[in-house]
């Protein structure tokens, strides 16, 4: 399962919803893999990285969690960690296995010069992954 901006699904991948102090995104996907990929792209849009080139760096990511919401927070926290510590922005995601409690993926991206915004953390605030017609949706609140 590969998810990249080129393989755009026919649904709105993410949109920002109002939050007084921080930033929140409503994310959609036809399945967990697409939801997670779209959430990552949505988080990139909040960080506003300087222009990044073609994917030249890949990281293997394996995560376990107690449920799908925890797994989503762990996934985004992982990517935010690489953004802060190595200025990496991932734009392409290949999932080799994903369930509600476990994922194995390769994230590909590039190093960028700077980010305009800092995502300090990914929160669990009112986080529920819901089934809806055509797939899954979740609203994620980011501490910025």
């Amino acid at each position: 399962m590969t998810h990249s901006p080129q393989a755009r699904p026919p649904i709105r991948r993410f949109e920002e919803v109002e939050h007084t102090a921080d930033r929140a995104l409503r994310v959609c996907g036809r399945d967990l893999a697409e939801l997670f990929a779209n959430a990552a792209l949505g988080m990139n849009s909040l960080m506003r990285p300087a222009a990044c080139g073609r994917p030249s760096i890949a990281k293997e990511i394996e995560l376990e969690a107690i449920d799908a919401e925890s797994l989503l927070v762990a996934w985004l926290s992982e990517l935010a960690f690489w953004a802060e510590t190595e200025s990496l922005v991932f734009t392409h995601f290949e999932f080799f296995g994903i369930s509600a409690t476990r994922l194995r993926a390769v994230a590909s991206g590039d190093r960028v010069g700077a980010f305009e915004k800092h995502v300090k953390a990914v929160t669990f605030h009112n986080l529920v992954i819901r089934s809806q017609a055509g797939g899954l949706t979740a609203t994620v609140v980011f501490d910025v």
Partner: protein, 483 residues
Amino acid sequence: MAGTRGFQKIGEFLYEIPVSFREGMRVPARFYADDELAAAMAGDRSLEQLVNTATLPGVVRHVLAMPDMHQGYGFPIGGVVATALPDGVISPGGVGYDINCGVRLLASRLEAEQVAPHLDDLASAIYANCPSGVGKGGQVKLKPGELDEIMEKGARWAVRRGYGTEADLERTEESGCLAGADAAKVGARARDRGKDQVGTLGAGNHFIEVDRVEHVADEALAGRLGLSPGQVVVQIHCGSRGLGHQVCTDYVNLFQKAVRKYRFELPDRELVCAPLSSLEGRDYLAAMTSAANYAFANRQVLAFHIRRSFEQVLAGKVKNFGLYQIYDIAHNMAKIETHVVDGRRRELCVHRKGATRAFGPGSEVLPEVYRDIGQPVLVPGSMGTSSWVLVGTEGAMAQTFGSTCHGAGRTMSRHQAKRSVHGAALRQELEAGGIHVRAGSLGGLAEEAPAAYKDVDRVVGVVHGAGLAKRVARLTPLAVIKG
């Protein structure tokens, strides 16, 4: 919970939501506001979030919110929640990700007129010497083991390294070093994020501001703090950087399991918590304390760089350019404190998330120099408006577990602020008002526009009127430095 249904006005500036409001509330929820601020609170989800905190196991007396309250995640920003030892809970979400985000106030012996010709250079020097922006590393290179020392010794580590004086420590909450830190409870990722960020400002709402004492509200108290009209002072607002953010991330994640283990039913997963007597609770407290000490060290190193900037720019041009510390306070913290509840002294864990400790006169934990007047409280306003210096009161001890407000409080989302305010135009507007601006990101500047915040004078008016703090002096900005 938009609207005013369910809350009752029980004092001139105090409202209460009774336990009957919602099933699961263990204590009433109280908040401080005037009519206009109460209406603003009813416009977002902050009151619902406050009510949620009233369901936490072991919560004591009532949960509280300050007049700068606004919507956060889990706890509202501006929330104060006390739980009783030994079995009450501690919640990482009740402290937030920026552990020991706080404010330090330095004062000069200079008048604004003396500094005016050099302000532009001063703003540039501070911007150059205090690294800011996303993920920016600092100039402090740590030796092996030194990060552990920072987490266990806090600002004491910085003073030992030559970044300040004993007088700075005396005028810092907890003398810049909270007891009970255990760096072994801080994970590898938090260490990675923190290892090169000591002495950095970061981004978001963090800033350094050169201010002028514009108005003194209480001459006697201002004199005791060393403040006088026209004087140049400097505020530093920042916290524990990536290290603190990761400590919170790690423990919020870990506590997702703990709530299942202890069978806590919570209305929001960001409220996850563990009993203070449990291994999980003790580990988080030790890790949070370590991150808090890192933040004290961070502000101490930033103060050093600001002093260096004053020297670089002003030496040979004006005399007495040195900066002395007024105080340094935390506004995101959970601390074990003793308070009188129903006539009995009790050991409590007081969570302050976007709220400031405001201990009144006579408190044994205050430095001798301030013990008879109460703890200085630093309330930064929105960029380009004003900030306040207050002192803590007996009223705060009696009503709010010794707590008061921490800032102006947002009313407009960052998203909305960016849509309605143009960063470049705002910068021009601030500069036209005589404020020198150095900012890494114009988008970030727009998000922090004054229009996105409540009126800090109104917020301070409420805490003063409610007896939660006393007004001492109002500061207005001369230069703003942001990531």
